[in-house]
Symmetry: C2
Subunit: 240 residues, 2 copies
DNA sequence: TTTATATAGTTGTCTATACCACTAGTCATA
DNA sequence: TATGACTAGTGGTATAGACAACTATATAAA
C-alpha cells in the first residue's frame, strides 16, 4: 500500500490511503484509527511521518485526536470545501447543473474612489467592468458586475469573461487565488435588477459583494452580485 | 524570549513570538522570516520544533512558504476568524457593541419531522424552543428561534438562554463545538417578524438557518434567525 | 554576450529515539 | 464497597541528524 521508492511523499501516500478508507466506508465516523505506533510498525515508517499524514487530515477536519484515547474519524462535512461559495460557476457545476453567462456589457472604465480603495489602485486607474447574467439551465439566477484591474489582466476578452474568470486569472498571472472577503445582505430589486432577473420590482434579493485576492494579497477582483432570493440560498460551513 | 523550562510548549512560545512580531509590525507583510535553521540556532531548539511553530501559522494563513526561497509574512486577513459568524453574541461583542437578548418564549415542545431530521432525533422527541429578540445597544437586530435537544441539555433555564447559549452548551456537555452549517437567504418580513423587529411588513430581511454540531458530530442546535436587512450585513472570509 | 555549471542557502521529507501527559482499566488496600 | 496506586496504551512534545528538491547567485565556458 505504501511505496517507499515512489516519488510521492510517504506521508502523502498514507494520507490518501486513510482518506480512501473513509470514503469507501472502511472507516466510519466515530471509528478509532489504528494508533500511530501501529501504523509505524505496519508500514515500517517513522511515527513522525505517520503524524504528518494524520495532521493533514486533522487539519481539514476529517479526523480528530483525543490525547490518551486515540484518533477518530470525524463526522463528514456536508460540503467538501468552502470553495464552492466563492464562485457561481464552480458552485453550480459541482451540483451538476449546466451554467452559462450572458455578457451584457464589457468595458474598460476608470476606477472610482470606492473601487480604487478596495482594489488597492489609484483613482482613475483603468479597470475592466463586466456585467453578466448568470444562468443555470437557462434560467437567470444572478446579475453580476465584476471589476478587474486592467493593467494586471490585459488581454482579457469578452469570450474569456463568458467562461470562468477565475480560471483566466490563475492562468494569466500564474498565481493561485488565496482568499475572498464577502459581504452578504438582503435588499429589494430595483428596476434594472428586476428586468435582468425577470422578477417584479421590489422582490427580495441577495446582494453579495466579493473581493478576491491572490495568496500574496494582490486584489484581483471586486464583484457585486444580485441573486434572486427565490432561486438561491447561500450555504456556509464553518468549523472552529 | 524562549523559556525551555516553561510548561508551555516551545513551539507554542515561538508561534506566539512570531505572531506578536507581526502584530506589532516588526515583521510586515511580504517580509521574509529568518530561516528555520537560523531560528534553530538562535534559540537552541530543533529545526523540527521551529517547523511545528511555523506550520501552525502557515495553516491559519499568517505565513506562507516558498521552497528554496524562504518563509514570508502573508497579507493579514481582515477578520481574524470565521468564528464571529456563528454567533450573534460573539460577533457583536467583538466589535465592542453591547448586546442583550429578550427571551419572549421558552418552551419544551415535541420535534416535528424537519427538526428531528436536522438534529438526528426521533420525531416527537422533546426539544427546547426558545424565541429571542437580539438587541445591539437596545435596538432590535434579529428575531431568533432556537431548538435544542432537551434530553442532552436538561436543566437549561430561561436565564441561561438570555446569555450565550453556546457557552452553556460547551460547559454543560464539556465538549467543544465543532462546526456549523448555515443557510442564508433573503426574504420579506411577515407580520410577526415585522412587529418584533419594528419594521414594515414586506421589508427585506436576511433569513439565516444554523445547524451547530460538536466535534464528534452530535447536533446541539438548530436556529432560525431573521435579521433586519438595513441593520445587518453578513461577512464571510474564505481562503483556499 | 550568452549559456552552462557549480554552490550555498532555503524549505520539504524522513528517520529513530526519548520522555511527557492523559485515559482506562486492573488490582491491592483501607 | 470505595479508594488509591499501578500499568499499558494513546497522543503531545522535542531532539539531532540526513538527504532531496528548489532558488538564486556567482563563476566558468562557449
Amino acid at each position: 500500500m505504501i511505496d517507499k521508492s515512489s516519488p510521492l511523499p510517504i506521508y502523502y501516500q498514507l494520507e490518501e490511503l486513510i482518506k480512501k478508507q473513509i470514503e469507501t466506508g472502511e472507516l466510519e465516523p466515530g471509528d478509532a484509527l489504528p494508533s500511530e505506533r501501529e501504523y509505524s510498525e505496519t508500514y515500517q515508517i517513522s511515527r513522525m511521518t505517520v503524524r504528518q499524514a494524520v495532521n493533514q487530515l486533522v487539519q481539514n477536519g476529517m479526523l480528530y485526536r483525543q490525547q490518551g484515547k486515540g484518533t477518530f474519524v470525524a463526522e463528514r462535512k456536508i460540503e467538501k470545501q468552502l470553495l464552492g461559495l466563492t464562485s457561481f460557476t464552480e458552485d453550480m457545476q459541482g451540483r451538476g447543473v449546466q451554467t452559462s453567462s450572458d455578457v451584457v456589457e464589457f468595458n474598460i472604465v476608470l476606477a472610482n474612489a470606492y473601487i480604487a480603495g478596495q482594489m488597492q489602485l489609484k483613482k482613475k486607474d483603468p479597470v475592466y467592468e463586466i456585467k453578466r447574467i448568470r444562468l443555470a439551465e437557462n434560467t437567470p439566477m444572478a446579475y453580476e458586475i465584476t471589476y478587474l484591474p486592467a493593467t494586471l489582466l490585459n488581454g482579457l476578452t469578452k469570450e474569456a469573461a463568458a467562461q470562468s474568470i477565475y480560471r483566466y486569472i490563475e492562468q494569466h498571472l500564474n498565481s493561485p487565488i488565496g482568499q475572498a472577503k464577502q459581504t452578504i445582505e438582503a435588499s429589494a430589486a430595483d428596476d434594472v435588477e428586476a428586468e435582468y432577473l425577470q422578477i417584479a420590482k421590489g422582490s427580495p434579493i441577495l446582494l453579495i459583494e466579493r473581493n478576491t485576492r491572490l495568496k500574496d494579497g494582490t486584489p484581483v477582483e471586486l464583484a457585486k452580485s444580485v441573486y434572486r432570493a427565490d432561486r438561491y440560498k447561500f450555504k456556509v460551513d464553518i468549523s472552529r
